[in-house]
C-alpha cells in the first residue's frame, strides 16, 4: 500500500510519543482497541485550567494507526476540553489522506480522544464531588 507523505512523516518522526503517570493530577487516559484486532491506542492528555497543555500517545498498530494517534496529540495540545470534543475522525482522514481500508484507524483515534476526555472528566468530577 502506498502511504501519504504525512503518514510516513508521523510514522518516522512520531510526535509526543510517551506516557504520563495515570494518577497525576489533570491527566486523562484513554485506551481503545484490542490486541486481537491488531491495534491498541493509548492517548493521554494533561489539563490545566480547562486547557490541554500536553498530550502523549503510545500505539500498537499499523503505520496509519500510529500516524493517526500522533496527529491527534498534536491537535489536542492547546485546545480546551470542549474544543477537543469536536475533533472528528473525518478530519484525521482528510489530513493524513487515509485510504478507505484505513479509516478505522482514524475512528480509533477519535475514540481514544473521547476516552481520554471522559477519563479526565470522571477524575475531575470526582475531585469536585469530594470537595462538596
Amino acid at each position: 500500500m502506498a502511504y501519504s507523505d504525512k503518514v510516513i512523516d508521523h510514522f518516522n518522526n512520531p510526535r509526543n510519543m510517551g506516557s504520563f503517570k495515570k494518577d497525576e493530577e489533570g491527566v486523562g487516559t484513554g485506551m481503545v482497541g484490542a490486541p486481537e484486532c491488531g491495534d491498541v491506542m493509548k492517548l493521554q492528555i494533561k489539563v490545566q485550567n480547562d486547557t490541554i497543555v500536553d498530550a502523549k500517545f503510545k500505539t500498537f498498530g499499523c503505520g496509519s494507526a500510529i500516524a493517526s494517534s500522533s496527529l491527534a496529540t498534536e491537535w489536542l495540545k492547546g485546545k480546551t476540553v470542549e474544543e477537543a470534543q469536536k475533533i472528528k475522525n473525518t478530519d484525521i482522514v482528510q489530513e493524513l489522506n487515509l485510504p478507505p481500508v484505513k479509516i478505522h484507524c482514524s475512528v480509533l483515534a477519535e475514540d481514544a480522544i473521547k476516552a481520554a476526555l471522559a477519563d479526565y472528566q470522571k477524575k475531575s468530577d470526582g475531585v469536585l464531588t469530594d470537595a462538596k
Partner: protein
C-alpha cells in the same frame, strides 16, 4: 550492496540470468508453434518443448509424458482438483485436504462444495503446521476420491509427511494430489517414492519466468485421468488446450535443470544464512517466537512473531527490505493469517508475524543489514507500544478487558 533487498522469495523469485539466456532465441528467431507439425518452425519449437519437458520431469523423477503445461500452479491446482472431481464423480465426491493449504486449493474445493459437486474434510495441523497421516487415514470414507495436501507451506515453510500420506492413499486406492509449488527445486522431490498421483508447481518460484507451471499427472499405477477445464485444440494429451508458450517453457526447463544441479549447494548456503538470521534476531529480541517447524522446513524460510508490535508497521519501518507479514493490515481480507491461526498462534501474535524468504541471490551482506534493521525497528516500535509498556509493568495482557472493535 544494493537497496532495496529482496527477501520475499516465497512470493516469487528473480529470474536466473542463465534462464533468460536460454529463452531469448524463442521469441523472435525460433517463434514457431509447437503444434505445427508440417514445417521447420514448428519442429524447432516442439523440440525445445520436449527438451524442457525432460528437464522438468527429471527434477521430480517423473516421465516426461506425465508433465502437462499450465499457466502456473493456481491453474494446476484447479485442473487437478476440478478435473478429478468431474472425472470420478461416479466413484464419489469426497475430498480430504488441510486447513493450511494455499488459497488456490482451498478456494477451488470451496467452490466445488458450493456448487454441490463435492464434500470436503479440512484436516487440522499440529502446532508446527504439519498434517498427520493418521488424521488422513481416519478421514477417508467410501466416497473419498481425492487427497490434496501440500508439500511445503508458503508462509511457515513446514514440510508435510507427504511420503506417509502417499502410502495411505495408495493403500486405499485414492488419488493423491500435492501442491508442491514451494518445495519443488528447493528440496528433493520424487513422485514415485512419495506416492504422488498429481502434483502442481510453477516456474517463477524457482528462478524461472512467470506465466508457466505444470501439473504432473501419473500415467501408470494408476493411470490418472482428469477432465479438461480448458477446451480447444487438444494440446497436452487433451488435458489442457492452448498454444504452448514456448519461451516460458524453455525457461521453466532450464530453471529445473539448474535447481537439480545446484540444489544441494543452494540449500546448504540458504540454511546457513537463514540460521544466522534467526539466531541473531532471536538472541537480541526477547519475546520473539518462531512460527512453523524448527527443523523440518524449507531452507530459505523464516517466520517470526515479534510480540507487542504489529506486522505492517514493522514492514513500513523496513521499507528497503521486501518482506511479508501475516498481519491483517497487509491482507486483502483484513483477517490475520489463517495459516498461523491454524497452528494455534494467537491472533495478537499472528498480527505480529514477519516472513523472511531467502533465495539464491541473497548475500551475507544483505543478511547482516537485515539483522541490524529488524532489531532496530522492533526495539523502536516496542518503545511506542502500549502493550509492551503494560507487559513491562507486569500487567497480564490476557486478563485485560479489551474493547474489541
Amino acid at each position: 550492496m544494493k537497496l532495496p533487498i529482496f527477501l520475499d522469495n516465497h512470493s516469487t523469485t528473480p529470474m536466473d540470468p542463465r534462464v533468460l539466456e536460454t529463452m531469448l532465441p524463442y521469441f523472435v528467431e525460433k517463434f514457431g508453434n509447437a503444434a505445427s507439425r508440417n514445417h521447420a518452425f514448428g519442429w524447432a519449437a516442439e523440440e525445445a518443448v520436449e527438451n524442457a519437458r525432460k528437464q522438468i520431469a527429471k527434477l521430480i523423477k517423473a516421465d516426461p509424458k506425465e508433465i502437462v503445461f499450465t499457466s502456473g500452479a493456481t491453474e494446476s491446482d484447479n485442473l487437478a482438483i476440478k478435473g478429478v472431481v468431474e472425472m470420478y464423480k461416479e466413484k464419489g465426491d469426497h475430498i480430504i485436504t488441510s486447513s493450511t493449504e494455499h488459497r488456490a486449493v482451498l478456494d477451488t474445493v470451496k467452490v466445488l462444495e458450493g456448487k454441490g459437486k463435492a464434500t470436503a474434510t479440512y484436516l487440522p495441523v499440529d502446532k508446527f503446521g504439519m498434517v498427520s497421516p493418521e488424521d488422513v487415514r481416519k478421514a477417508i470414507t467410501e466416497k473419498t476420491i481425492l487427497i490434496s495436501v501440500m508439500l511445503a507451506n508458503n508462509e511457515i515453510g513446514t514440510i508435510n509427511p507427504v511420503k506417509a500420506i502417499g502410502k495411505i492413499a495408495k493403500e486405499k486406492g485414492i488419488l493423491f494430489h500435492c501442491d508442491a509449488t514451494q518445495g519443488v527445486g528447493k528440496i528433493p522431490v520424487d513422485v514415485q517414492e512419495m506416492g504422488i498421483d498429481l502434483m502442481s508447481f510453477s516456474a517463477h518460484k524457482i528462478y524461472g519466468p512467470k506465466g508457466v507451471g505444470a501439473l504432473y499427472v501419473r500415467k501408470k499405477n494408476p493411470r490418472v485421468r482428469i477432465t479438461a477445464q480448458m477446451d480447444g485444440g487438444g494440446h497436452e494429451r487433451g488435458m489442457r488446450s492452448g498454444t504452448l508458450p514456448v519461451p516460458l517453457i524453455v525457461g521453466f526447463g532450464k530453471a529445473c535443470e539448474l535447481c537439480e544441479q545446484e540444489m544441494v549447494k543452494d540449500a546448504a548456503r540458504l540454511i546457513a544464512m537463514r540460521d544466522r538470521l534467526e539466531t541473531s534476531i532471536m538472541k537480541d529480541l526477547e519475546e520473539s517466537y518462531l512460527n512453523g517447524h524448527p527443523t523440518n522446513r524449507l531452507p530459505g524460510n523464516l517466520n517470526i512473531s515479534f510480540a507487542y508490535v504489529e506486522g505492517e508497521s514493522l514492514l513500513m519501518g523496513m521499507k528497503d527490505i521486501a518482506l511479508s507479514s501475516g498481519s491483517a493490515c497487509t491482507s486483502a481480507t483484513l483477517e490475520p493469517s489463517y495459516v498461523l491461526r491454524a497452528l494455534g498462534v494467537g491472533t495478537d501474535l499472528a498480527h505480529s508475524s514477519i516472513r523472511f524468504g531467502l533465495g539464491r541471490f541473497n548475500t551475507d551482506d544483505e543478511i547482516d543489514y537485515t539483522i541490524k534493521k529488524v532489531i532496530e525497528i522492533v526495539t523502536k516500535l516496542r518503545e511506542m507500544s502500549p502493550l509492551y509498556e503494560m507487559a513491562k509493568e507486569g500487567v497480564d495482557l490476557k486478563s485485560v478487558q479489551w474493547a474489541a472493535h
